[in-house]
Symmetry: C2
Subunit: 463 residues, 2 copies
Amino acid sequence: MTVAAVRTTRIIHVRQDSGQTVMKSLTPENAGLSLMGQRTSAPPISWLMQLALSRQDIISLAVGFTDNASLPVRETRDLIEDLLSSNATAPDILQYGTGTGNPDLRSLVADRTMRADKHACNVMDAGGVHATPAQDIYAADATIITNGSQQLLYMINECLCDPGDIVLVEDPTYFVFLSLGQSHGIEFRGVQLDIHGASHRHLEEVLENAKMNGTLPRVKYLYTPTYFQNPTGITTPFSRKIRLLETLRNYEKDAGHPLYLVEDAAYRELRFSGEDTPSSLASSLARDRVIYTGTFSKPFATGIRVGFGILPHHLHETIARIKGNHDFGTSNLLQHILRRALVTGKYDAHLQTLQERYSFKSQLMLEALQNYFPNSVSYRIPKGGLYFWVEIPNAGTGLNSDVFASALKQNVLYLPGDFCFADDPTRTKPDNHMRISFGGATDYSITNGIKRIGNALRECRIN
Amino acid sequence: MTVAAVRTTRIIHVRQDSGQTVMKSLTPENAGLSLMGQRTSAPPISWLMQLALSRQDIISLAVGFTDNASLPVRETRDLIEDLLSSNATAPDILQYGTGTGNPDLRSLVADRTMRADKHACNVMDAGGVHATPAQDIYAADATIITNGSQQLLYMINECLCDPGDIVLVEDPTYFVFLSLGQSHGIEFRGVQLDIHGASHRHLEEVLENAKMNGTLPRVKYLYTPTYFQNPTGITTPFSRKIRLLETLRNYEKDAGHPLYLVEDAAYRELRFSGEDTPSSLASSLARDRVIYTGTFSKPFATGIRVGFGILPHHLHETIARIKGNHDFGTSNLLQHILRRALVTGKYDAHLQTLQERYSFKSQLMLEALQNYFPNSVSYRIPKGGLYFWVEIPNAGTGLNSDVFASALKQNVLYLPGDFCFADDPTRTKPDNHMRISFGGATDYSITNGIKRIGNALRECRIN
């Protein structure tokens, strides 16, 4: 190293240092962030997750993780061994794929959804309605493969919503979906839930209000997780879904554009064995208003992130382009693992194991709730999904509540219910629920976690 | 099925059908799309890819795919077998990970980049400058793992740019990056390239113009692929990068916010053996203005999509939040494959094979160019990456040009050079280049593809 070179280096570094005085301490506030960058807030769950990680003795029933013990380790090993053992096909699996997803996997998704819908149509639903899906409506070219269904939810917002636009959500709804919207600058309006899902009567009221106050043109779609809804566990019958669609359609003329229904079927296959689920709207004649989203991550393995959507044809191209900009297509290896799992029947075999496992775990949590929770609290017994949704009479459950503080002292975490209600200026946000998950918890944690929450509630004089 | 039920069903379907008359044929134009949805155009390459797929006899040297023959099939099988053979650790691999990425992989990324930068600092660069990275600057908590580096480029735009903001790019640049920006509503200004990368003198001119015409506050960052640039193959020495940073910094006060430099190191490791690469800016003292992006996809396997970034601390949190909204974290399985590949040395062993393979393929293409191309065309011999960038004197190469038509007739595809130039209203877009890739082509296709393009050129009387 020559002296001259050292000097040059120093001079450059001095310049850099002195340059830093222009903007002394950079924070997100003065860092030149976009509006999205500025408004994207920390997800509400992150603090709870940090807390769970930092305290080893804590039991967390807050996060919707999936069952660890039943993860398909051997199955995945065998699938990959099969996939990569043929030198003729293996390179394709490790190469780029197409942006919208592996064609075989897309066909499998379409066929699987059609089969499930057809099966459901043989059962009359609570509204006395049989769905009669057209036979030809599924085409692999209406589907898209994504990085979990969350990426698709994100892209739906990008495709349909400008900042300031309004999305209708259920009261309560999947709280992560609210974070996505918040970041995108979306406003929310809550639609009341009854035991059959979103109320079409209240939906009409919300739309009528929007029409009256001139905000209807900003309303873009209704988001509804229709199977074992997160957090309430409610499943929406086909007849209700059709009524929701009709209600939306009645306001399209005044909105000036289609009003879509986004049907999130993430938990559709996580039902406890023996239950039938209603047909989806993806097989209804109104499918040009329906965006159907699903995932293989929760039913198979969350570490293998593959989701999918069945889209109206006129939106498919745009979402596919956005996907191409996001990432040039979901990992081909992951897609091939799922494709092969479906084809070999390993996926369905695993699903059955998982359904039995969750059936057992939900039963275990139910027994603990019956044993340890005060009589005044109420909850519905879920028939699928990963959650109990518990209502506490006359007591807040939020991060600043006595109940939450008491639970923390008892070394247990639940998800405060107010996380699941959108910021809707037209109503007061309920704050007396908790979402409790049996998904990722061990049997020990389920029983003892509920016992601890029960103690916390009694400590707050809830009996 | 009762008659009543059938009737109900029919009525509903009739209502749906009649409802469809409200908006007869839905197209993206009347589908209620967002501004982003409306402006996201088809990627320019998609037509070429369709064409290549539809004509079996065509040789495509247009797309930057990677070498099929050397994909790490056995390595990947062994890695996964190792990962999933222990029941103690396997479930973690198939479960959700953390949003910013596996902590071990993040450390490996940081260490690897630091080692490469340190090694580079022992070599004086073309500007006579030694980089002296501080020892303590890398921390795993400045890194993030993404779905390929493309997702990170997307999120950088989301984090820093509102529609109408300006990003500075090289003339020419990575054309997919231009698609991302187009979708986001970003405007571009081109900065001239010389043999040492983006010209800091022209950068100053561009910034000065922006200052004069009042657009400087909308300028957010300079995007530069600094290693074996796509498409030109140019590598930017450390001294030049420092000068670019200094130039940007001189305009920060007038811009009113930091002016970042996004250093895209996608091809850094795809160098032909024996060459040293300059230190990156991630190890410079000015790292609070530098966003460093890299990928394991191209050097290992494009079907395993894992990219990464090293970010200024004040941006890390925001990008991590956006990533959490995108997808809740990159597939844990894919991250573990790469982690283990790095730890076991399989990654580096594969990289060496790949470097030798691309060295051979580029040599093969060079020989074909020397044998079959007219003397009047010019190109630089790349020392890494996947491309030759060829300049044709006085003849257009675009999709509507005689040269392209002639190439099509010869059954060969190249990437028209104008794809790689941004829509910059302040200069005319050059249209007399072609990007030719030896990445995914077979040896046969390389030789014969070049021969065919040579014939096409001669057919257009280019000699």
